[in-house]
């Protein structure tokens, strides 16, 4: 059995349609994910509209260096993920594996940066509760959103990294052929996690700078 025949699954007549099917399924899942994150953004927008000054004061205390490094890391990981997908489609197995490894490494670097940033935040007691250092009290709402939004994003990214590593292993062992539809869903999901960060970055890091 050739690699191409091994990649094709029931009920698809060809690989192109199979890839489109996987893409459509992933987009449906992401449409629900968009609403999940949009509810958080909407909550942020409502509370910010009533506490604009408190949100400005609070967001001035986020670590913009870590936030900016993480933005560049994720944008670069989207580049390597796109090349991984396109290389898989034209059966460049070596390039696919290299780009998948680079994507997972960039994702892991993001989490390391996030961990260092969380450490800095906690050192300054920037966690809503009794010893919160900022005033007015509404600044705690901003930091509540910060922890929930970045935490949920990090969970999504961790899931993405694990899936990328799993796919890498399956490709490496030739359990699954690279030109199948596997990469389609993985790539779309990864870009989605990146695009969520592109909204979080201005809301959490840039809002209080001037």
């Amino acid at each position: 059995m050739s690699d191409a025949a091994g990649a094709l699954r029931e009920p698809w007549p060809n690989l192109q349609l199979q890839r489109q099917g996987v893409g459509l399924g992933m987009w449906m899942f992401l449409a629900s994910e968009v609403l999940f994150f949009a509810a958080l953004f909407c909550g942020y927008a409502v509370y910010r509209s009533f506490n604009a000054e408190a949100f400005r004061i609070a967001s001035a205390h986020t670590e913009i260096v870590y936030g900016s490094i993480n933005t560049v890391l994720l944008l670069t990981s989207s580049l390597t993920m796109t090349v991984a997908l396109r290389a898989a489609t034209v059966q460049l197995r070596g390039l696919t594996l290299f780009c998948l490894a680079a994507t997972a490494a960039l994702g892991a670097a993001f989490l390391v940066c996030k961990g260092l940033e969380y450490h800095e935040d906690l050192k300054q007691h920037l966690f809503p509760g009794p010893h919160f250092p900022l005033s007015p009290p509404a600044t705690q709402m901003f930091w509540g959103f910060y922890w929930i939004m970045t935490g949920i994003h990090a969970v999504h990214l961790t899931g993405g990294i694990l899936v990328v590593l799993l796919v890498f292993t399956l490709f490496k062992r030739r359990t699954v052929p690279v030109q199948g539809s596997t990469m389609e869903g993985v790539a779309i999901y990864w870009h989605f996690v990146d695009s969520v960060w592109l909204v979080l970055y201005p809301l959490l890091y840039l809002a209080g700078r001037p």
Binding site: Q20, G23, L24, W27, M28, L30, A31, S32, E33, V34, L35, A38, A39, C42, A45, V46, S49, F50, A52, I64, S68, T71, V72, L75, T76, S78, L79, M81, T82, V83, R86, A87, V90, L92, L95, A187, I188, H191, F192, D194, S195, L198, V199, Y201, P202, L203, L206, A207, R209, P210
Partner: protein, 105 residues
Amino acid sequence: MSQNETRGRQRNSALTWRLWRGPGLTWLALLALFAVSLGSAYAPLGVGNLEINLFIAAIMIALLVTFLMDLKNARTIVRVVAAAGLFWTILMFALVFNDYLSRTY
């Protein structure tokens, strides 16, 4: 090394270059927009700062979705599903703010 092997390698390296070029250009555009966004955040524009930054973020997401998620080559049904998320998000924001901004207390 045989002539066929040499040709094969040349073809692969040309293909590899083509694979990196398109996404690479999008990546450069995204980095440029990121730099503009970060720079503009320090300009004293008052309430305009967040609006500008969110507008730039929207352009960045549009670039990412169109060129890296390849929605420009996707079938209509995929575009409709992708637009559904945006549609319901707009509806949620409209209904929520319709309530909060019209309250008199």
